[in-house]
Amino acid sequence: MWEWLKSIVSDTGIMSAVKVTFIMAVSSTAISSVLGILFGLLLERFSFPGKRIVVRINRTLMGVPPVVAGLVVYLLIMRRGPLGPLSLLFTIKGMVIAQVLIITPIISGMIYSYARKAAPSIRVFAATMGADRWQTARLIIRELRKEIYFCMVTGFGRSISEVGAVMLVGGNIKGRTRTMTTTISLLKSQGIFTEGVALGIVLLVMAFILQWICDLLQKEGEEDENY
């Protein structure tokens, strides 16, 4: 068992897949969080004609099949596509773009529904306290911090588990754009199941450790809570 684990850790191919997955997931979660949280909160804050349609489109995009998003990004960044000259095809950057397209609507849609429930009463409270616009906005974000954190974790989970878009846009190039999920998919097609399962376990352990760290960071400020 130990030897086997050691062989995995020393395998440069696997380690590179871990690294690529990690860089990609962290980048796409970070970008999607900024975009999604901002969009979700603004959508709740302002009303404008066609808002209901926007909300509905957002909800639809929450369930967009990753391969479809991957295909769209592929068409955009392929050599003859409109963004072809930027040479993003088969790069981690390209993969991140595709993932941002998948994850942002999920985060913004979740944030929107959380904010719609909580923000009106927070706004009234802030008004009675004499808070100005920025203080009110800050209070809403602070009061929704747990929900925001949860949305980010969800986004990260989507990111590391995603195969289709990453495969299409990244091209599954060994050592460069091969992620853990695309490695597993490849191993399966070669009939190498044990390594595939092992990699899956590594992936889960990684997610578990990261969540644990986030939870620890979260708890720090909230020791007083005893409910």
């Binding site: 009463s121 927070i122 009234v124 409270f125 008004a127 009675t128 306290m129 004499g130 808070a131 100005d132 203080q135 209070l139 602070r142 009061e143 911090r145 747990k146 007083d224 809570e225 005893n226 409910y227």
Partner: protein, 201 residues
């Protein structure tokens, strides 16, 4: 404060206030049956809800001088202490710790100072909400049923504290209640509402 030609329609509810003068630094009680528009009136007077037409003249008071207490107060997801000092924080005022401890022990919340605010009982929540509303020394305080449904001990406590505030630094109070008996002994002036209008009695 003077309210003139106020109109507000929400669904089937319609409110009309031609002319109402609220004498400053006095305790005003607003009494009326459920659904007569007391809360709506209070929200408009507090500047939280915009009227359809009409004006509310605050006689020089800014929105920061006015606060409102709700029957079910909003408590932030943090400690009792942090909730209490929030209005000071947003005004950049440093809290006077001794004063805060004194206030908290007065209402019996000293022990719960570092506790999560949402773990308080509903009576304790109202006490915290009361302290939070008076701590930043507003000039006008709207009270939406906070003082109804209290046990007699808490009622005494709030009445006593309001009395003390009025002695030291008078505030304009607008206290809404659906029952007469609880507040009339506290109030300088009573107003009666019926179906969205103020009526003489």
């Amino acid at each position: 404060m003077r309210i003139t030609d106020l109109e507000k329609t929400i669904g089937t509810f319609h409110m009309e206030v031609d002319d109402l003068y609220i004498e400053p630094e006095k305790i005003h009680g607003i009494v009326g049956p459920n659904g007569c528009g007391k809360t709506v009136f209070l929200k408009i007077a507090a500047g939280i809800l915009p009227p359809d037409t009409g004006t509310v003249d605050y006689d020089g008071l800014s929105p920061r001088d006015i606060t409102m207490m709700f029957q079910r107060p909003y408590l932030m997801h943090t400690t009792v202490y942090e909730n209490l000092i929030y209005p000071l924080k947003i005004r950049g005022i440093r809290p006077d710790e001794e004063e805060i401890d004194r206030m908290l022990s007065r209402v019996g919340l000293k022990e719960q100072k570092r506790q999560y605010a949402r773990s308080l009982s509903s009576g304790e929540r109202q006490k915290l909400s009361f302290l939070r509303a008076v701590i930043f020394k507003p000039r006008m305080i709207m009270v939406d049923e906070t003082l109804s449904n209290l046990d007699s001990e808490s009622e005494e406590l709030f009445a006593g504290m309001i009395g003390e505030i009025q002695k030291v630094r008078p505030v304009t109070w607008l206290i809404v209640n659906h029952q007469m008996d609880h507040i009339c002994r506290l109030c300088d002036e009573m107003h009666y509402m019926e179906k969205g209008r103020f009526v003489k009695r």
